[in-house]
């Protein structure tokens, strides 16, 4: 699942259309949209608004396999208008912290240092992009994902030759972002490829359900059950899983049952090490 955050509607509209998202409520002034593969928050301008809406989106849709992307416009000294960047260092004029998104893949977007400002500025600096949300978004998204899965993609909307004016050309901005959607999709594929593949078997969830129906487990025991069954799922052959199912019937109490699961792990893990 992708979670997008944009400050403005014009930054969001191409993404909403591409992922076929529909309005799905909001939080304060933030508006949420949802589709089959992606969700999006229009947060309003500013790091605080971005952080609040990002937190609300993450809390409303908890999912530990989400990629978080802040997409929007930025200012840059001399990069051409429409050029995309991905932030590799994010700082803020209101915080001493600096954040370093991690990219353990070959990025298809050029990296840049992003500084999030509390006010618009035309004081462009070499090798640095300006925005007004990235830092707030990133800090908030870290509550829901690790740094490899959170990124800020910024498209240059103004530079020293064409500085930001008080009036946005919303159509131009919408078009700029829309043009970057294929780049964003490639990026998301690269990120997704990094994620360790989980075993596809349904055996573990079904077995855990059956075990919970048979015995009443404490929190600690539930943790042990989930861990041991997941581990068994990774190392047992199908016929061995069928035999393990019998432990549920044969065990007279939950302690014996959990202990039998560990004995099975002791036996089969040794075989599977090499």
């Amino acid at each position: 699942m992708l979670h997008f955050s944009t400050a403005l509607h014009c930054e969001a509209q191409g993404i909403i259309a591409h992922y076929d998202m529909k309005p799905s409520g909001g939080h304060g002034r933030a508006q949420f949209f949802e589709g089959e593969k992606a969700r999006l928050a229009i947060t309003g301008v500013g790091a605080l608004n971005s952080a609040i809406a990002t937190t609300a989106l993450g809390s409303k849709y908890p999912n530990d396999e989400t990629i978080w992307l802040n997409v929007g416009i930025c200012g840059h000294l001399d990069a051409p208008i429409g050029n995309p960047f991905i932030a590799n260092r994010i700082s803020s004029n209101t915080s001493r912290d600096t954040l370093y998104p991690q990219f353990p893949w070959k990025s298809n977007i050029k990296g840049i240092e992003l500084q999030t400002l509390s006010e618009p500025s035309t004081d462009y600096k070499t090798n640095q992009a300006f925005d007004m949300e990235g830092f707030g978004f990133y800090k908030a998204a870290l509550a829901f994902a690790s740094t490899e899965f959170i990124h800020c993609i910024k498209v240059v909307s103004d530079n020293a030759a064409q500085p930001a004016s008080s009036h946005f050309d919303k159509h131009a901005i919408a078009r700029m972002i829309e043009l970057q959607i294929p780049v964003i999709e490639t990026l998301c594929e690269s990120i997704d490829e990094l994620r360790p593949k989980k075993p596809s078997s349904n055996w573990s969830s079904s077995f855990i359900q059956k075990a919970k129906a048979r015995f009443r487990f404490t929190e600690t025991e539930t943790h042990q059950l989930n861990k041991r069954v997941t581990q068994l799922d990774a190392i047992l052959q199908q016929d061995e899983k069928t035999k393990t199912d019998l432990l549920l019937i044969e065990s007279s109490n939950k302690k014996t049952f959990l202990s039998q699961l560990q004995s099975t792990l002791n036996q089969f893990s040794t075989r599977n090490i090499c």
Partner: protein, 329 residues
């Protein structure tokens, strides 16, 4: 080799930094104040970063040469370790580094001159004592030598320090920097070795066992002292027999005169490190069974550990004298 290089402010103009940046002109450069800003934050995934780590060039401040824990000696008067790098090119599933650090990025401390100065000061502070310096605790000493130039930078120091010993601990077969120079009597090139099935299934990206034995042979033929590090012993089906044959094979391949020391240790890990490794690799059988928690350490159940350890110890002692043998238990 590196998509991204982070550069700490203090060493931006250091000659080793400049040389590395020149060597990797295509790598994206990111400036930072201190390496901890990148390396230490919690919300990072070691397993995912390990697929393509970045390089962080930093300055090692504070204490650079540290005493080893009490049971990790090789018979010298004093034992120390130092880490010019954090993290390793290889991806051994039992390695504590994956449970110890938040990030899999490589840190290279470029201020070698400060390490050298501290080693010299340490050795010269007690000139009548033998000092042993281990270099492969937080990294593999030689695996990234073509990037770091570690061997060429540190070996000359030991030429000049007769009461100091250096251990290069490695699985790397990149031993050219050593073969290209005369052997040093106070340097031990110590190879971490496990039977081939373990090397294949657990020591990811590390050179295969035959290549490591071949490197050991070449070094011993060239007159270098070598070390054999059978650590960690891993418990698996028929492991006692497999380890027995493996020990025989290693000693049949290398002249015993070249062997400086042999260490032996079972798989063990501090609880917190183990928990992290287990959560990173929930499907890894190594972490699933036959383990107990004792005094804050996760290790094999006593009977399993002592059977494997004792049988391997005895086999080693059929090939080598006890004075070369240093068990870690």
């Amino acid at each position: 080799m590196f998509e991204r290089i982070y550069i700490e402010a203090a060493i931006r103009e250091h000659p080793r930094t400049l040389a590395l940046l020149e060597r990797y002109p295509k790598a994206e450069r990111v400036n930072c104040e201190r390496y901890g800003e990148i390396f230490n934050p919690n919300r990072q995934n070691f397993r995912i970063q390990k697929q393509n780590p970045a390089l962080i060039l930093a300055e090692k401040r504070g204490t650079r040469v540290l005493p080893t824990p009490p049971d990790y000696g090789l018979g010298a008067d004093r034992h120390y370790y130092f880490s010019h790098m954090l993290n390793c090119l290889y991806d051994c599933r039992y390695c504590f580094l994956q449970g110890m650090y938040q990030s899999a990025n490589y840190i290279l401390f470029v201020n070698f001159e400060d390490f050298r100065s501290d080693i010299r000061t340490t050795a010269e502070s007690q000139p009548d004592e033998q000092h042993f310096f281990f270099s492969g605790y937080d990294c593999d000493s030689l695996a990234m030598d073509s990037v770091t130039g570690f061997a060429d930078a540190f070996l000359p120091l030991f030429e000049d320090l007769p009461n100091a010993w250096l251990e290069l601990r490695t699985k790397s077969v990149n031993v050219k920097p050593l073969l290209n120079r005369p052997p040093l009597p106070n340097v031990v090139v110590a190879f971490s070795l496990n039977p081939e099935p373990i090397a294949k299934s657990v020591e990811h990206r590390a050179p295969p066992l035959p290549a490591r034995i071949n490197a050991l042979k070449k070094l011993s033929e060239a007159g270098w002292k070598v070390g054999l590090r059978f650590d960690p012993l891993i418990h698996f089906e028929n492991c006692i027999e497999v380890y027995r044959d493996f020990i025989d094979h290693v000693f049949d391949s290398i002249p015993i005169e070249a062997v400086h020391s042999i260490t032996l240790g079972s798989f063990r890990s501090p609880k917190s490190v183990f928990k992290k490794m287990e959560s990173l690799y929930p499907e890894e059988p190594l972490f699933m069974g036959n383990l107990d928690l004792k005094n804050g350490m996760v290790a094999y159940k006593k009977s399993i550990e002592s059977d494997l350890f004792e049988s391997t110890r005895k086999r080693i002692l059929t090939h080598a004298d006890e004075d070369k043998f240093f068990p870690c238990q």
